[in-house]
Amino acid sequence: MIILVDAAIYATILSILCVGLTLTYKITNVPNFAHTSFAILGMYMALIVTKIFDANPYLAIPMAFVVSGATSLFLYYFVLRILQKRTKSFLPLIVATLSFDIFMIGILNILADTITSEFQVISRDFTLRSHDILIFDMPAILILSLAATACLVLGLYYMLYKTKFGIKMRCSIENTSLAQIYCINTQRVFCVSWFLSGGLGGTAGVFLAVWFQGDPGLSVLLLPSVFAGSIVGGFTSIYGSIVGGLVIGFSEILVTDLLARNFGYWIVSYRPIIPFLFIITTLLLWPRGLSEIIKKVQERI
């Protein structure tokens, strides 16, 4: 049972991260290798709010959303936007997000060390699980993370298809220069998307901190899973990425558990290979991923 709870929480958090990654890839064509560092930033916001200000971890969500969103916006506005103006090549962009990730690893570790040395709070391999509350005898995180994913699905649908900003967004994605011709401030649309993507990452980080162990090193471990989720979802389909995140999350935990029961526990340490296998097989054999299926379902609705 506990393994199912674990899997559900992990899978929903992963799908929130996948949505963020897909959003910025779809809109500005940048595979953001620094995406999970926004989540870890949110994680530390949760630690600060819980341990230093002695409040409920969920109160950290607004702060995490803003701080991670602002970091993400910074990356786009001051680095990627300028690089994109100069070249059409994707390589400088990849190298730039990788560099930003390295930079963020430095920042996050400095943050962790400083929290420990200044406030005597454990900041590595920490968990806030004991601060979680119970709703209907269930851990609140389970309900909240599921609810957050559901809200995300509905909220994104509403935003993309029912609001003016959504139409502007879809136009900017399809044809940036034509969107500009029709008075759409595409730059603002892109900036909002990056802020949103980072903010979602930060929120996912708060959820992660409540249930799993938090550590600066988690960023590197989480990144392949998030990429795998987005890629399995087709990489340009928002809904695909939600499903993809769920698929990767559940298979990482449940499949490993199943294999471990049958073949021995040495398999558990190979869990990190699962997302890579998904990435490689999807891109080589089925590059459009789940997006094809999602599209058919959407058309039927």
């Binding site: 139409i167 502007k168 399809e174 969107a179 011709i181 008075c183």
Partner: protein, 235 residues
Amino acid sequence: MMPISIDSLCCGYGKHQILYDVSFEAGQQITVIVGSNGSGKSTLLKAICGLADVYSGEISLYDKRITGLPTYKIMSMVSYMPQTNNVFGDITIRDNLLVASMPDKPDWNHIFEFFPMLQDRLHQKAKDLSGGQRQLLAMAMCISKKPNIILFDEPTASLSPAASNMVLEKIKEIQTALHNCIVLVEQNVKDALAIGDRCYLFAGGKKMFSGKPDVLLADKDFDSKFLGLADDNTS
């Protein structure tokens, strides 16, 4: 007060210069720009919209200097119809017109007055339209804001003769009804000159002629000077 006045403009893309010291004016009439491929006539329209890099010179709309402004700001004063990819294929016709008239709501009566055939296709996706219909939708998007200035970049390119006649007639109709300033860049020289009130001839990024279309048409060397050149380039 001229709707468009351009003073000794030099512009291009990045390091690649296209236009050399071009001055240009357009009043409340149809101004046609003709010239062979690569003569820089489309670039002039893009420069007005802020889509090309201006090295020197001034562009003003109604005496307001717009050089260097971001595209989305300029476009509140101008409508521009690009040669290709001029509609959003993945969204419906209704949404296309909605986007084109933002921030206001579309004036449907005004649009259907000129383009009645769009009325019963509003919920179709734009990519499902035929070539000619797509051009009409793009034109409808251009007029939806009732702009004082409209720039058309080769609206008849890749259309059948019948469809291109329809498009040119539509342009004439719009100008007669709205009395606005229309700049029309065309390859289809003779038909375009027929509806134009004033015309410019570009070659090699420089202005070669400006004046009444009949003067250009009456020029004995017209064919060799101009059409011959065009044929060489298009064949």
